[in-house]
């Protein structure tokens, strides 16, 4: 807990409640029983910022939406009057029930740029908890707002925020497939690739600069690596048969892939530039959906070697496979959590496909959703939320659930079918 020393006691216990996992020693001793995310959210007021009204309003509304969506905060109305970062008028906010206040200002600078300053206050203890200033253009309002949200989230919860991260996903609309990149809140979507043929399995390189994905534009599945800045891409695997399920090694140098050049789907590794193919494992069954553990030592994958699709793991250097899932007859799409302690996957329960999390130490599993057609779970880099694809009203949508199942979100609805989400890494 970097900043725990200046936490007020009341907030402190609330944070401990919200933290749930109580992985941080300072908070572990204060942990209280959780009855639901709603009861333990931190009451926070995000005031209208002073200064440039239009920019300030746009910015503050994004900060509010970020914090509220996280499920960790309850927004308290800060009143009609803008409050700048230097204000110390705590009494009113205290009476409104706020434990924390975000206040700030936006001033216009030369050549259409802005300077935004904000400060986070502890209303109860009546002290400032810190602040930042950013110079930005009108086009960077969203980015700036997400940075403020990240700052607030980290100060108050002790864990890193993911509001500045990005997600990749595929939108299908009338015979057209678009690989899109958006902010973690679904805003600011941009198309990286449009195709008349399907695109599946996008996945971020560990440094966030590239996506690997499978495209069917050559009438069969071929793996590409796509540089997001230059827009250039290269073929990473195009062997005879099908090429699919790319997964980056933690150092970003290799991809675990599934090839069928020697028959049915099997695990291989290739360098990210497409060179140096080697076999990772050998079986007489389907082996697919490889994923490296965060330390790179282990590869989780799906195999039907036992008669039904189940999750297994092997050392990334090879060796015998160890079965991980035993409950039910359909467990697929393993995704290790960023701390390597849990595994998210999709299990079939009474014909419903649902995002599930297993504690790898205890092997206890928890079904996180009550939906029916969940696919493609992907952890946020802080491990708090899992984004996944599901179906609502006959359409593909993206949803997110906290790793403990308590907080649920549906991402802003876009046109068409949305699927194949992949949560990007932290932004440097």
């Amino acid at each position: 807990m970097r900043l725990g020393y200046n936490f007020p006691m009341k907030l402190h216990s609330l944070f401990a409640a919200a933290m749930l996992a109580a992985t941080i020693p300072v908070q572990a001793q204060l942990s209280i029983e959780i009855t639901g995310a709603g009861a333990n959210r931190i009451p926070i007021a995000v005031a209208d910022f002073a200064g440039e009204r239009v920019v300030a309003q746009a910015l503050v509304s994004i900060v509010r939406a970020d914090l509220e969506r996280s499920g960790m905060f309850r927004l308290v109305d800060a009143g009609p009057v803008p409050i700048d970062e230097n204000s110390t008028a705590y009494a009113d906010l205290k009476s409104r029930g706020a434990d924390a206040l975000v206040a700030g200002s936006v001033t216009g600078a030369a050549d259409g740029h802005y300077e935004t300053r904000f400060r986070l206050h502890d209303v109860q203890k009546q002290v400032a908890l810190g602040g930042q200033g950013y110079g930005h253009s009108g086009g960077q309002i969203r980015v700036t707002a997400h940075r403020i949200s990240d700052f607030v989230y980290e100060k108050l919860t002790g864990e890193r925020g993911i509001f500045s991260t990005r997600i990749a996903y595929v939108v299908k609309s009338s015979g057209r497939f678009e690989l899109q990149i958006a902010d973690a809140d679904g805003g600011n979507g941009q198309t990286a690739l449009a195709s008349r043929e399907p695109i599946i399995s996008p996945t971020w390189s560990p440094d966030g600069s590239k996506l690997a994905y499978v495209s069917f534009e050559a009438k069969k599945p071929v793996i590409y690596v796509h540089d997001l800045v230059s827009g250039r891409r290269h073929v990473a695997a195009n062997f005879k048969g099908s090429n699919s399920a790319p997964a980056w090694s933690p150092d970003g140098r290799k991809l675990a892939v599934v090839l069928t050049k020697d028959g049915i789907s099997q695990l291989y590794a290739v360098n990210a530039d497409g060179s140096g193919v080697t076999r990772l494992a050998s079986s007489a069954a389907i082996d697919t959906e490889p994923q490296f553990s965060p330390d790179g030592q282990t590869i989780y994958f799906t195999s039907d070697r036992g008669g039904s699709p189940q999750i297994y793991r092997i050392a990334s250097t090879g060796g015998d496979a160890q079965r991980i899932t035993f409950e039910g007859s359909y467990n697929v799409t393993p995704r290790p959590s960023p701390d390597g302690k849990s595994l998210a996957y999709v299990s079939r329960n009474n014909g419903h496909f649902q995002v599930t999390v297993m504690d790898l130490a205890t092997k206890q599993s928890l079904v996180l959703t009550d939906s029916q057609k969940d696919e493609s779970p992907s952890y946020a880099p802080n491990g708090r939320m899992i984004i996944y694809a599901t179906e609502m009203g006959g359409r593909g949508v993206l949803a997110a659930v906290s790793a403990d199942g308590r907080i649920k979100q549906k991402l802003s609805v876009l046109a068409g079918d949305v699927r194949e989400p992949s949560w990007g890494p932290y932004v440097k």
Binding site: K240, G241, A245, T260, G263, T333, V346
Partner: protein, 177 residues
């Protein structure tokens, strides 16, 4: 219509000789991406062992069993059911007889469950068809088996009948993919 059907492979053969680009009206994506490599050989060998246009026409004859191109599978299965054995026999015979022709087998899966696992399932179905053809004398180099997984459904409803139609292996010949 008949003329175009015959013309496609012939033009591809010419393209393989390097003397003429593929005709633009012949489905450019398939032609450009795959055909020249798939046929291979120099002009002489192509002339000596050309694909018999009449044999290719037989592929399209609705009365011929060769016009049947789909093998259907049960849920989560990749075993070829006995009812499809005559179809496999006929296509194997055709491949043996026309050793220059190439085949692409596309495996498919219904939409339920993981896309990547379904891709693997489609691959296993395509591979099952490939092996069955191989046992009857078709050469390894003649056939490529790939999977489209659940990505290219023939039927898009969410029903048992529809899913049954999508659990399928399709065979395509030179000029058709």
């Amino acid at each position: 219509m008949r003329r175009t059907l015959i013309a496609a492979p012939l033009i591809l053969l010419l393209a393989a000789c390097g003397s003429q680009p593929p005709a633009p009206e012949q489905n450019p994506s398939g032609v450009e991406n795959r055909e020249p490599k798939a046929i291979g050989g120099d002009a002489e060998s192509v002339n000596r062992d050309a694909i018999d246009p009449y044999a290719l026409e037989a592929l399209k004859d609705p009365k011929s069993i060769l016009a049947k191109r789909s093998i259907y599978f049960d849920y989560d299965q990749y075993v070829i059911k006995p009812e499809f054995q005559p179809l496999i026999d006929a296509h194997a015979k055709f491949l043996v007889k026309n050793s220059k022709i190439k085949m692409l087998i596309q495996g498919n899966a219904d939409e339920r469950g993981s896309r990547e696992y379904n891709l693997a399932l489609g691959q296993k179905r395509a591979e099952a068809v490939k092996r069955a053809l191989g046992m009857l004398g078709a050469r390894e180099e003649q056939i490529e088996s790939v999977s489209l997984g659940e990505e290219k459904p023939r039927c898009t409803d969410h029903s048992d009948e529809c899913w049954a139609q999508n659990r399928r292996g399709d065979v395509l010949y030179t000029g058709e993919f």
